[in-house]
Protein backbone atom coordinates (compact mmCIF):
# COMPACT_ATOMS: atom_id res chain seq x y z
CA UNK A 1 0.00 0.00 0.00
CA UNK A 2 1.25 3.44 -0.85
CA UNK A 3 2.14 5.25 2.29
CA UNK A 4 -0.31 7.99 2.96
CA UNK A 5 1.30 10.86 4.78
CA UNK A 6 -0.89 12.44 7.36
CA UNK A 7 0.24 15.92 6.54
CA UNK A 8 -0.06 17.04 2.95
CA UNK A 9 3.25 18.59 1.98
CA UNK A 10 2.12 20.36 -1.11
CA UNK A 11 -1.25 21.83 -0.40
CA UNK A 12 -3.20 22.88 2.64
CA UNK A 13 -6.27 20.75 1.89
CA UNK A 14 -5.82 17.05 2.67
CA UNK A 15 -6.24 14.43 0.01
CA UNK A 16 -9.60 12.69 0.25
CA UNK A 17 -9.86 9.05 1.32
CA UNK A 18 -7.15 6.68 0.06
CA UNK A 19 -7.59 4.20 -2.78
CA UNK A 20 -11.21 3.35 -3.56
CA UNK A 21 -10.24 -0.31 -3.28
CA UNK A 22 -13.05 -1.40 -1.01
CA UNK A 23 -16.21 -2.58 -2.72
CA UNK A 24 -18.88 0.05 -2.46
CA UNK A 25 -21.78 -0.70 -0.24
CA UNK A 26 -25.23 -0.83 -1.64
CA UNK A 27 -26.92 2.55 -1.48
CA UNK A 28 -26.28 3.78 2.04
CA UNK A 29 -29.86 4.91 2.56
CA UNK A 30 -30.53 6.88 5.71
CA UNK A 31 -27.52 5.63 7.67
CA UNK A 32 -25.07 8.49 6.93
CA UNK A 33 -27.73 11.06 7.67
CA UNK A 34 -28.51 9.48 11.01
CA UNK A 35 -24.83 9.60 11.89
CA UNK A 36 -24.59 13.22 10.77
CA UNK A 37 -27.82 14.39 12.39
CA UNK A 38 -26.61 15.35 15.88
CA UNK A 39 -23.68 17.33 14.54
CA UNK A 40 -25.77 18.98 11.85
CA UNK A 41 -28.31 20.15 14.42
CA UNK A 42 -25.55 21.90 16.37
CA UNK A 43 -23.81 23.14 13.25
CA UNK A 44 -27.01 24.63 11.86
CA UNK A 45 -28.12 26.20 15.12
CA UNK A 46 -24.82 27.71 16.23
CA UNK A 47 -22.91 28.31 13.00
CA UNK A 48 -25.07 28.49 9.87
CA UNK A 49 -28.07 30.28 11.34
CA UNK A 50 -25.99 32.87 13.24
CA UNK A 51 -23.92 33.67 10.15
CA UNK A 52 -27.12 34.75 8.37
CA UNK A 53 -28.96 36.01 11.44
CA UNK A 54 -26.08 38.42 12.13
CA UNK A 55 -26.57 40.06 8.74
CA UNK A 56 -30.28 40.38 9.45
CA UNK A 57 -29.58 42.00 12.83
CA UNK A 58 -27.17 44.45 11.21
CA UNK A 59 -30.02 45.77 9.08
CA UNK A 60 -32.07 46.76 12.13
CA UNK A 61 -31.85 49.19 14.97
CA UNK A 62 -31.60 46.21 17.25
CA UNK A 63 -31.58 47.19 20.89
CA UNK A 64 -31.72 44.04 22.99
CA UNK A 65 -33.56 45.82 25.79
CA UNK A 66 -36.24 47.51 23.67
CA UNK A 67 -39.31 45.71 22.30
CA UNK A 68 -39.22 47.44 18.88
CA UNK A 69 -36.43 46.58 16.49
CA UNK A 70 -37.13 48.76 13.43
CA UNK A 71 -35.67 47.85 10.06
CA UNK A 72 -33.19 50.51 8.99
CA UNK A 73 -31.67 49.02 5.84
CA UNK A 74 -27.97 49.75 5.54
CA UNK A 75 -28.07 52.71 7.96
CA UNK A 76 -25.84 50.93 10.47
CA UNK A 77 -23.22 50.52 7.76
CA UNK A 78 -23.73 54.09 6.60
CA UNK A 79 -23.08 55.38 10.10
CA UNK A 80 -19.70 53.65 10.10
CA UNK A 81 -18.74 55.63 7.00
CA UNK A 82 -20.25 58.94 8.12
CA UNK A 83 -17.69 60.99 10.00
CA UNK A 84 -20.50 62.88 11.74
CA UNK A 85 -22.05 59.79 13.35
CA UNK A 86 -21.75 58.82 17.00
CA UNK A 87 -19.88 55.60 16.32
CA UNK A 88 -17.55 56.72 13.54
CA UNK A 89 -14.60 57.87 15.57
CA UNK A 90 -14.65 55.12 18.20
CA UNK A 91 -15.07 52.40 15.60
CA UNK A 92 -12.25 53.51 13.35
CA UNK A 93 -10.00 54.14 16.29
CA UNK A 94 -10.60 50.55 17.41
CA UNK A 95 -9.98 49.32 13.86
CA UNK A 96 -6.75 51.27 13.87
CA UNK A 97 -5.75 49.68 17.18
CA UNK A 98 -6.39 46.21 15.74
CA UNK A 99 -4.45 47.24 12.62
CA UNK A 100 -1.42 48.42 14.60
CA UNK A 101 -1.45 45.25 16.67
CA UNK A 102 -1.70 43.05 13.59
CA UNK A 103 1.03 44.86 11.66
CA UNK A 104 3.54 44.39 14.47
CA UNK A 105 2.48 40.94 15.64
CA UNK A 106 2.27 39.09 12.35
CA UNK A 107 5.88 39.56 11.14
CA UNK A 108 7.22 38.54 14.56
CA UNK A 109 4.94 35.50 14.75
CA UNK A 110 5.91 34.47 11.24
CA UNK A 111 9.68 34.88 11.63
CA UNK A 112 10.52 33.93 15.24
CA UNK A 113 8.64 30.60 15.30
CA UNK A 114 10.42 29.60 12.09
CA UNK A 115 13.74 30.12 13.87
CA UNK A 116 12.56 28.02 16.81
CA UNK A 117 11.28 25.32 14.45
CA UNK A 118 14.63 25.17 12.64
CA UNK A 119 16.33 24.63 15.98
CA UNK A 120 13.86 21.91 16.95
CA UNK A 121 14.16 20.24 13.55
CA UNK A 122 17.70 19.10 14.33
CA UNK A 123 18.18 15.72 15.97
CA UNK A 124 19.35 16.00 19.59
CA UNK A 125 18.48 14.33 22.86
CA UNK A 126 15.69 16.15 24.69
CA UNK A 127 14.13 17.57 21.57
CA UNK A 128 10.57 16.57 22.53
CA UNK A 129 11.07 18.07 25.97
CA UNK A 130 12.14 21.46 24.63
CA UNK A 131 9.35 21.43 22.07
CA UNK A 132 6.88 20.98 24.92
CA UNK A 133 8.49 23.76 26.98
CA UNK A 134 8.25 26.27 24.14
CA UNK A 135 4.66 25.27 23.47
CA UNK A 136 3.57 25.38 27.13
CA UNK A 137 2.31 29.00 27.35
CA UNK A 138 -0.12 28.26 24.52
CA UNK A 139 -2.12 25.88 26.73
CA UNK A 140 -2.93 28.70 29.15
CA UNK A 141 -6.06 30.82 29.05
CA UNK A 142 -5.68 34.39 27.91
CA UNK A 143 -7.13 35.25 31.33
CA UNK A 144 -4.09 33.71 33.05
CA UNK A 145 -1.73 35.30 30.55
CA UNK A 146 -3.35 38.70 31.05
CA UNK A 147 -3.34 38.56 34.84
CA UNK A 148 0.23 37.31 35.00
CA UNK A 149 1.69 39.87 32.62
CA UNK A 150 -0.26 42.74 34.09
CA UNK A 151 1.57 41.95 37.31
CA UNK A 152 4.99 41.42 35.68
CA UNK A 153 4.63 44.64 33.67
CA UNK A 154 3.04 46.76 36.44
CA UNK A 155 4.85 50.10 36.06
CA UNK A 156 5.24 50.60 39.82
CA UNK A 157 5.24 47.12 41.32
CA UNK A 158 6.24 44.83 38.45
CA UNK A 159 9.40 42.80 38.22
CA UNK A 160 10.31 44.11 34.75
CA UNK A 161 10.73 47.70 35.87
CA UNK A 162 12.33 46.58 39.13
CA UNK A 163 14.84 44.51 37.17
CA UNK A 164 15.59 47.30 34.71
CA UNK A 165 16.05 49.73 37.62
CA UNK A 166 18.40 47.34 39.39
CA UNK A 167 20.79 47.24 36.42
CA UNK A 168 20.79 51.02 36.08
CA UNK A 169 18.25 51.39 33.27
CA UNK A 170 15.15 53.56 33.61
CA UNK A 171 12.79 51.70 35.94
CA UNK A 172 9.68 53.76 35.38
CA UNK A 173 8.56 52.74 31.89
CA UNK A 174 4.73 52.85 31.69
CA UNK A 175 4.41 49.38 30.16
CA UNK A 176 0.66 49.17 30.56
CA UNK A 177 -0.39 52.80 30.59
CA UNK A 178 1.66 54.77 28.06
CA UNK A 179 2.37 54.69 24.35
CA UNK A 180 4.18 53.17 22.58
CA UNK A 181 4.94 50.95 25.58
CA UNK A 182 1.44 49.46 25.83
CA UNK A 183 1.75 48.24 22.24
CA UNK A 184 5.17 46.77 22.90
CA UNK A 185 3.70 44.93 25.90
CA UNK A 186 0.66 43.62 24.06
CA UNK A 187 2.68 42.47 21.06
CA UNK A 188 5.40 40.95 23.26
CA UNK A 189 2.95 39.09 25.48
CA UNK A 190 1.11 37.73 22.45
CA UNK A 191 4.35 36.54 20.87
CA UNK A 192 5.32 34.84 24.16
CA UNK A 193 1.92 33.20 24.40
CA UNK A 194 1.47 31.86 20.85
CA UNK A 195 4.99 31.46 19.42
CA UNK A 196 5.01 27.76 20.28
CA UNK A 197 1.84 27.12 18.30
CA UNK A 198 3.28 28.51 15.07
CA UNK A 199 6.59 26.78 15.78
CA UNK A 200 5.08 23.29 15.98
CA UNK A 201 3.19 23.90 12.74
CA UNK A 202 6.42 24.94 11.02
CA UNK A 203 8.13 21.94 12.52
CA UNK A 204 5.54 19.58 11.06
CA UNK A 205 6.05 21.28 7.70
CA UNK A 206 9.84 21.01 7.93
CA UNK A 207 9.60 17.30 8.63
CA UNK A 208 7.64 16.84 5.42
CA UNK A 209 10.40 18.24 3.22
CA UNK A 210 12.11 15.21 1.63
CA UNK A 211 15.71 14.65 2.79
CA UNK A 212 16.80 14.04 -0.81
CA UNK A 213 16.14 17.66 -1.69
CA UNK A 214 18.71 18.76 0.89
CA UNK A 215 21.16 16.15 -0.34
CA UNK A 216 20.70 17.37 -3.91
CA UNK A 217 21.26 20.94 -2.78
CA UNK A 218 24.49 20.05 -1.00
CA UNK A 219 25.74 18.16 -4.07
CA UNK A 220 25.08 21.32 -6.07
CA UNK A 221 27.59 22.92 -3.74
CA UNK A 222 25.28 25.36 -2.03
CA UNK A 223 25.86 26.26 1.60
CA UNK A 224 23.35 26.20 4.42
CA UNK A 225 21.87 29.52 3.39
CA UNK A 226 21.38 28.32 -0.18
CA UNK A 227 19.65 25.19 1.09
CA UNK A 228 17.39 27.32 3.27
CA UNK A 229 16.48 29.61 0.37
CA UNK A 230 16.08 27.00 -2.33
CA UNK A 231 14.81 24.00 -0.41
CA UNK A 232 13.38 24.98 2.98
CA UNK A 233 11.44 28.10 2.06
CA UNK A 234 9.83 26.70 -1.12
CA UNK A 235 9.03 23.49 0.75
CA UNK A 236 7.32 25.50 3.47
CA UNK A 237 5.20 27.58 1.10
CA UNK A 238 1.80 26.05 1.99
CA UNK A 239 2.67 26.08 5.68
CA UNK A 240 3.83 29.67 5.46
CA UNK A 241 0.58 30.66 3.77
CA UNK A 242 -1.38 28.96 6.53
CA UNK A 243 0.69 30.63 9.25
CA UNK A 244 0.33 34.11 7.75
CA UNK A 245 -3.44 33.83 7.27
CA UNK A 246 -4.02 32.19 10.62
CA UNK A 247 -1.88 34.72 12.49
CA UNK A 248 -3.64 37.65 10.78
CA UNK A 249 -7.02 36.18 11.80
CA UNK A 250 -5.86 35.55 15.36
CA UNK A 251 -4.43 39.08 15.66
CA UNK A 252 -7.64 40.60 14.35
CA UNK A 253 -9.47 38.61 17.04
CA UNK A 254 -7.34 40.09 19.80
CA UNK A 255 -9.44 40.78 22.85
CA UNK A 256 -8.33 39.31 26.17
CA UNK A 257 -4.80 40.70 26.28
CA UNK A 258 -5.95 44.32 25.90
CA UNK A 259 -9.04 43.74 28.03
CA UNK A 260 -6.94 42.58 30.98
CA UNK A 261 -3.50 44.16 30.57
CA UNK A 262 -4.11 47.69 29.32
CA UNK A 263 -7.91 47.92 29.51
CA UNK A 264 -7.68 50.02 26.38
CA UNK A 265 -5.34 52.52 28.06
CA UNK A 266 -4.08 55.13 27.62
CA UNK A 267 -7.43 56.68 26.70
CA UNK A 268 -8.91 54.24 24.18
CA UNK A 269 -5.77 53.81 22.10
CA UNK A 270 -5.39 50.09 22.74
CA UNK A 271 -9.09 49.27 22.65
CA UNK A 272 -9.27 46.76 19.78
CA UNK A 273 -12.11 46.34 17.30
CA UNK A 274 -13.36 43.21 19.05
CA UNK A 275 -13.36 45.02 22.40
CA UNK A 276 -15.41 47.84 20.96
CA UNK A 277 -17.80 45.53 19.10
CA UNK A 278 -18.36 43.40 22.21
CA UNK A 279 -18.88 46.47 24.36
CA UNK A 280 -21.36 48.03 21.93
CA UNK A 281 -23.25 44.81 21.24
CA UNK A 282 -23.09 42.93 24.51
CA UNK A 283 -22.74 45.63 27.16
CA UNK A 284 -24.64 48.54 25.66
CA UNK A 285 -26.87 46.13 23.70
CA UNK A 286 -26.73 48.16 20.47
CA UNK A 287 -26.58 44.92 18.53
CA UNK A 288 -27.52 46.16 15.07
CA UNK A 289 -24.66 48.58 14.97
CA UNK A 290 -22.24 46.10 16.53
CA UNK A 291 -23.22 43.39 14.05
CA UNK A 292 -22.61 45.80 11.18
CA UNK A 293 -19.15 46.52 12.61
CA UNK A 294 -18.36 42.83 12.79
CA UNK A 295 -19.18 42.41 9.10
CA UNK A 296 -17.03 45.40 8.16
CA UNK A 297 -14.15 43.82 10.05
CA UNK A 298 -14.85 40.50 8.33
CA UNK A 299 -14.76 42.23 4.95
CA UNK A 300 -11.41 43.81 5.83
CA UNK A 301 -10.05 40.38 6.80
CA UNK A 302 -11.37 38.84 3.61
CA UNK A 303 -9.59 41.47 1.51
CA UNK A 304 -6.34 40.98 3.42
CA UNK A 305 -6.60 37.20 3.05
CA UNK A 306 -7.14 37.50 -0.69
CA UNK A 307 -4.11 39.79 -1.01
CA UNK A 308 -1.99 37.30 0.93
CA UNK A 309 -3.19 34.44 -1.28
CA UNK A 310 -2.30 36.41 -4.37
CA UNK A 311 1.13 37.33 -3.10
CA UNK A 312 1.85 33.68 -2.45
CA UNK A 313 0.60 32.67 -5.87
CA UNK A 314 2.58 35.31 -7.75
CA UNK A 315 5.77 34.25 -6.03
CA UNK A 316 5.18 30.71 -7.20
CA UNK A 317 7.96 29.93 -9.68
CA UNK A 318 6.07 27.17 -11.44
Amino acid sequence: MVEQTVRPATRPVPPVTPAPAAPRRRGPGAAPWLFLAPYLVLFTTFTLVPAVYGLWISLHEWDYLLPGKPFVGVDNYGALLDSGSAVYESFWQSMQATGIFTVFTVPLLVALPLGVALILNRAFPGRTFFRAVYFAPYVLSVAVVGLLWRFVLDPNLGVVNAGLGAIGLPGDTPWTTGLPWAWISLVGVTVWWTLGFNAVIYLAGLQDIPRELYEAASIDGGGKWAAFRHVTLPGLRPVLLFIVINTVLASANMFGQAYLITQGAPGQETRTAIMYIAEEGLRNYRMGSAAAMSYVLTLALLIISLIVFRLFREKDPS
Partner: protein
Protein backbone atom coordinates in the same frame (compact mmCIF):
# COMPACT_ATOMS: atom_id res chain seq x y z
CA UNK B 1 28.73 17.49 18.11
CA UNK B 2 31.86 18.40 20.03
CA UNK B 3 31.63 18.90 23.74
CA UNK B 4 31.98 22.69 23.54
CA UNK B 5 29.41 22.90 20.80
CA UNK B 6 27.07 20.70 22.81
CA UNK B 7 27.33 22.95 25.84
CA UNK B 8 26.66 26.04 23.73
CA UNK B 9 23.69 24.33 22.10
CA UNK B 10 22.03 23.33 25.36
CA UNK B 11 22.79 26.73 26.89
CA UNK B 12 20.87 28.32 24.06
CA UNK B 13 17.97 25.86 24.42
CA UNK B 14 17.95 26.47 28.16
CA UNK B 15 17.97 30.25 27.74
CA UNK B 16 15.07 30.01 25.36
CA UNK B 17 13.22 27.77 27.83
CA UNK B 18 13.71 30.36 30.55
CA UNK B 19 11.81 32.94 28.49
CA UNK B 20 8.79 30.67 28.33
CA UNK B 21 8.93 29.18 31.81
CA UNK B 22 10.22 31.97 34.05
CA UNK B 23 6.96 33.98 34.02
CA UNK B 24 5.08 30.85 35.10
CA UNK B 25 7.55 30.18 37.89
CA UNK B 26 7.21 33.82 38.94
CA UNK B 27 3.44 33.36 39.14
CA UNK B 28 3.85 30.34 41.44
CA UNK B 29 6.50 31.96 43.63
CA UNK B 30 4.45 35.13 44.04
CA UNK B 31 1.39 33.15 45.07
CA UNK B 32 3.36 31.99 48.15
CA UNK B 33 4.57 35.46 49.16
CA UNK B 34 3.04 37.99 51.52
CA UNK B 35 1.42 41.01 49.91
CA UNK B 36 4.24 43.33 50.91
CA UNK B 37 6.95 40.97 49.73
CA UNK B 38 5.24 40.46 46.36
CA UNK B 39 5.66 44.12 45.52
CA UNK B 40 8.99 44.81 47.25
CA UNK B 41 11.61 46.76 45.31
CA UNK B 42 14.09 45.29 44.59
CA UNK B 43 12.09 42.06 44.31
CA UNK B 44 13.03 38.86 46.12
CA UNK B 45 13.03 35.73 44.00
CA UNK B 46 12.18 33.05 46.56
CA UNK B 47 9.50 33.83 49.15
CA UNK B 48 11.39 34.93 52.28
CA UNK B 49 8.55 33.78 54.45
CA UNK B 50 6.52 31.29 52.38
CA UNK B 51 2.85 31.53 53.16
CA UNK B 52 -0.40 30.11 51.81
CA UNK B 53 -2.26 33.24 52.92
CA UNK B 54 -2.89 34.15 49.27
CA UNK B 55 -4.63 30.82 48.69
CA UNK B 56 -6.55 31.10 51.96
CA UNK B 57 -7.81 34.53 50.94
CA UNK B 58 -8.59 33.28 47.45
CA UNK B 59 -10.76 30.42 48.67
CA UNK B 60 -12.24 32.35 51.57
CA UNK B 61 -13.25 35.28 49.37
CA UNK B 62 -16.59 37.04 49.39
CA UNK B 63 -19.73 35.83 47.61
CA UNK B 64 -18.58 37.93 44.67
CA UNK B 65 -15.58 35.66 44.17
CA UNK B 66 -16.64 32.04 44.82
CA UNK B 67 -13.45 30.59 43.38
CA UNK B 68 -14.15 26.97 44.22
CA UNK B 69 -17.48 27.24 42.46
CA UNK B 70 -15.72 28.69 39.39
CA UNK B 71 -13.32 25.78 39.41
CA UNK B 72 -16.18 23.27 39.50
CA UNK B 73 -18.06 25.15 36.80
CA UNK B 74 -14.95 25.12 34.61
CA UNK B 75 -14.52 21.38 35.17
CA UNK B 76 -18.17 20.70 34.36
CA UNK B 77 -18.27 22.87 31.27
CA UNK B 78 -14.98 21.60 29.84
CA UNK B 79 -15.79 17.95 30.55
CA UNK B 80 -19.33 18.34 29.24
CA UNK B 81 -18.16 19.90 26.01
CA UNK B 82 -15.41 17.32 25.50
CA UNK B 83 -17.95 14.50 25.84
CA UNK B 84 -20.44 16.19 23.53
CA UNK B 85 -17.75 16.86 20.92
CA UNK B 86 -16.60 13.24 21.05
CA UNK B 87 -20.11 11.96 20.42
CA UNK B 88 -21.28 14.28 17.66
CA UNK B 89 -17.93 14.69 15.90
CA UNK B 90 -17.12 10.98 15.80
CA UNK B 91 -20.52 10.12 14.37
CA UNK B 92 -20.35 12.87 11.74
CA UNK B 93 -16.76 12.02 10.87
CA UNK B 94 -17.68 8.37 10.39
CA UNK B 95 -20.46 9.31 7.97
CA UNK B 96 -18.10 11.55 5.99
CA UNK B 97 -15.23 9.06 5.98
CA UNK B 98 -17.07 5.85 5.15
CA UNK B 99 -20.25 6.58 3.22
CA UNK B 100 -20.92 7.85 -0.27
CA UNK B 101 -24.17 9.76 -0.40
CA UNK B 102 -25.71 12.66 -2.21
CA UNK B 103 -24.95 15.99 -0.58
CA UNK B 104 -21.79 14.76 1.12
CA UNK B 105 -19.56 17.25 -0.69
CA UNK B 106 -21.97 20.11 0.00
CA UNK B 107 -21.94 19.35 3.70
CA UNK B 108 -18.22 18.93 3.83
CA UNK B 109 -17.80 22.17 1.87
CA UNK B 110 -20.11 24.04 4.24
CA UNK B 111 -18.10 22.81 7.24
CA UNK B 112 -14.86 23.90 5.54
CA UNK B 113 -16.33 27.30 4.67
CA UNK B 114 -17.10 28.05 8.31
CA UNK B 115 -13.40 27.88 9.08
CA UNK B 116 -13.16 31.19 7.24
CA UNK B 117 -15.98 32.83 9.20
CA UNK B 118 -14.36 34.84 12.00
CA UNK B 119 -15.72 33.73 15.37
CA UNK B 120 -16.63 37.27 16.41
CA UNK B 121 -19.33 37.58 13.72
CA UNK B 122 -21.13 34.71 15.43
CA UNK B 123 -20.98 36.07 18.96
CA UNK B 124 -23.85 38.55 18.80
CA UNK B 125 -26.35 36.31 16.95
CA UNK B 126 -25.34 33.35 19.15
CA UNK B 127 -25.98 35.47 22.23
CA UNK B 128 -29.55 35.98 20.99
CA UNK B 129 -29.98 32.31 20.08
CA UNK B 130 -28.72 31.20 23.48
CA UNK B 131 -31.04 33.75 25.06
CA UNK B 132 -34.00 32.29 23.17
CA UNK B 133 -33.04 28.80 24.37
CA UNK B 134 -33.07 30.16 27.92
CA UNK B 135 -29.40 29.35 28.39
CA UNK B 136 -27.99 32.79 29.23
CA UNK B 137 -26.15 32.74 32.55
CA UNK B 138 -26.07 28.91 32.58
CA UNK B 139 -23.37 26.37 31.82
CA UNK B 140 -25.40 25.13 28.84
CA UNK B 141 -24.30 28.27 27.00
CA UNK B 142 -20.69 27.19 27.54
CA UNK B 143 -21.13 23.52 26.72
CA UNK B 144 -23.38 23.25 23.67
CA UNK B 145 -22.70 26.01 21.10
CA UNK B 146 -18.93 25.45 21.07
CA UNK B 147 -19.47 21.77 20.21
CA UNK B 148 -20.51 22.88 16.71
CA UNK B 149 -16.89 23.64 15.89
CA UNK B 150 -15.56 22.05 12.71
CA UNK B 151 -12.26 20.99 14.25
CA UNK B 152 -13.33 17.64 15.70
CA UNK B 153 -15.09 16.53 12.54
CA UNK B 154 -12.04 17.32 10.41
CA UNK B 155 -9.65 15.73 12.79
CA UNK B 156 -11.55 12.45 13.18
CA UNK B 157 -12.58 12.22 9.55
CA UNK B 158 -8.95 12.23 8.56
CA UNK B 159 -8.09 9.60 11.16
CA UNK B 160 -10.99 7.32 10.22
CA UNK B 161 -10.15 7.60 6.51
CA UNK B 162 -6.76 6.07 7.19
CA UNK B 163 -7.98 3.08 9.14
CA UNK B 164 -7.68 -0.19 7.19
CA UNK B 165 -11.02 -1.42 5.98
CA UNK B 166 -10.42 -5.15 6.47
CA UNK B 167 -11.86 -5.31 9.99
CA UNK B 168 -15.01 -3.47 8.94
CA UNK B 169 -15.47 -5.80 6.00
CA UNK B 170 -15.08 -8.82 8.24
CA UNK B 171 -17.69 -7.42 10.60
CA UNK B 172 -19.97 -6.69 7.65
CA UNK B 173 -19.73 -10.32 6.53
CA UNK B 174 -20.70 -11.39 10.01
CA UNK B 175 -23.85 -9.36 9.62
CA UNK B 176 -22.98 -6.28 11.66
CA UNK B 177 -24.82 -3.07 10.78
CA UNK B 178 -23.26 0.37 10.41
CA UNK B 179 -23.87 1.34 14.01
CA UNK B 180 -22.31 -1.87 15.33
CA UNK B 181 -19.29 -1.41 13.08
CA UNK B 182 -18.94 2.16 14.31
CA UNK B 183 -19.13 1.26 17.98
CA UNK B 184 -17.28 -2.07 17.97
CA UNK B 185 -14.68 -1.58 15.24
CA UNK B 186 -14.06 2.10 14.44
CA UNK B 187 -14.17 3.61 17.92
CA UNK B 188 -11.89 1.03 19.61
CA UNK B 189 -9.34 1.47 16.81
CA UNK B 190 -9.43 5.24 17.27
CA UNK B 191 -8.70 5.55 20.98
CA UNK B 192 -5.58 7.72 20.56
CA UNK B 193 -7.36 10.13 18.21
CA UNK B 194 -10.41 10.30 20.48
CA UNK B 195 -8.22 10.98 23.51
CA UNK B 196 -6.39 13.73 21.63
CA UNK B 197 -9.64 15.35 20.55
CA UNK B 198 -11.08 15.11 24.06
CA UNK B 199 -7.98 16.78 25.51
CA UNK B 200 -7.91 19.59 22.96
CA UNK B 201 -11.65 20.21 23.39
CA UNK B 202 -11.29 20.26 27.16
CA UNK B 203 -8.43 22.76 27.04
CA UNK B 204 -10.15 25.02 24.51
CA UNK B 205 -13.23 25.20 26.67
CA UNK B 206 -11.27 25.50 29.93
CA UNK B 207 -9.46 28.53 28.53
CA UNK B 208 -12.29 30.27 26.72
CA UNK B 209 -12.60 33.90 27.77
CA UNK B 210 -14.65 36.27 25.62
CA UNK B 211 -17.78 34.12 25.32
CA UNK B 212 -18.20 33.37 29.07
CA UNK B 213 -17.42 37.01 29.90
CA UNK B 214 -20.55 38.06 28.01
CA UNK B 215 -23.01 35.18 28.47
CA UNK B 216 -22.52 34.66 32.22
CA UNK B 217 -23.72 37.34 34.62
CA UNK B 218 -23.93 35.88 38.14
CA UNK B 219 -20.65 35.36 40.00
CA UNK B 220 -21.75 31.88 41.09
CA UNK B 221 -22.14 30.83 37.44
CA UNK B 222 -18.72 32.01 36.26
CA UNK B 223 -15.95 29.77 35.06
CA UNK B 224 -12.35 30.51 35.99
CA UNK B 225 -11.35 32.78 33.05
CA UNK B 226 -14.09 35.40 33.54
CA UNK B 227 -13.62 34.83 37.27
CA UNK B 228 -9.99 35.88 37.00
CA UNK B 229 -11.15 39.13 35.41
CA UNK B 230 -13.41 39.69 38.43
CA UNK B 231 -10.57 38.87 40.82
CA UNK B 232 -8.42 41.51 39.15
CA UNK B 233 -11.13 44.07 39.82
CA UNK B 234 -11.71 42.85 43.39
CA UNK B 235 -8.12 42.48 44.57
CA UNK B 236 -6.37 45.26 42.62
CA UNK B 237 -2.69 44.95 43.43
CA UNK B 238 -3.04 42.14 45.95
CA UNK B 239 -0.84 40.08 43.69
CA UNK B 240 -0.40 36.93 45.84
CA UNK B 241 -4.16 36.35 45.66
CA UNK B 242 -4.28 37.12 41.93
CA UNK B 243 -1.33 34.82 41.20
CA UNK B 244 -2.91 32.09 43.34
CA UNK B 245 -6.02 32.42 41.17
CA UNK B 246 -3.96 32.34 37.98
CA UNK B 247 -2.12 29.26 39.26
CA UNK B 248 -5.42 27.55 40.06
CA UNK B 249 -6.57 28.12 36.46
CA UNK B 250 -3.22 27.07 34.96
CA UNK B 251 -2.32 23.96 36.91
CA UNK B 252 -4.99 21.61 35.52
CA UNK B 253 -4.22 22.78 31.98
CA UNK B 254 -0.47 22.41 32.46
CA UNK B 255 -0.78 18.98 34.11
CA UNK B 256 -3.01 17.76 31.31
CA UNK B 257 -0.52 19.13 28.81
CA UNK B 258 2.48 17.50 30.51
CA UNK B 259 0.78 14.11 30.44
CA UNK B 260 -0.46 14.31 26.86
CA UNK B 261 1.92 16.80 25.22
CA UNK B 262 3.02 14.53 22.39
CA UNK B 263 -0.57 13.93 21.30
CA UNK B 264 -1.69 17.52 21.75
CA UNK B 265 1.19 18.94 19.75
CA UNK B 266 0.82 16.39 16.99
CA UNK B 267 -2.95 16.87 16.92
CA UNK B 268 -2.62 20.64 16.77
CA UNK B 269 0.08 20.70 14.12
CA UNK B 270 -1.68 18.15 11.96
CA UNK B 271 -5.02 19.86 11.96
CA UNK B 272 -3.36 23.25 11.71
CA UNK B 273 -2.01 22.25 8.34
CA UNK B 274 -5.44 21.46 7.09
CA UNK B 275 -6.03 25.16 6.66
Amino acid sequence: MSKVKGIAWYTMLGGLSLIFIAPLVWMLLTSFKTTSEATRVPPTILPGDPTTAGYAELFGGSSQTPVLRWFLNSMLAATGQAVLVLIVASMAAYALARFDFRGKNVIFGAIIATLFVPIFTLIIPNFLIVDRLGWLDTLWALIVPGAASAFGVFFLRQFFSQLPRELEEAALLEGANAWQIFVKVILPLSKPALATLATISFLTNWNDFIWPVYVLFSPENFTLPPGLGTLQGAYGVNYPVLMAGAALASIPALLLFIVTQRYIIEGVSRSGLKG
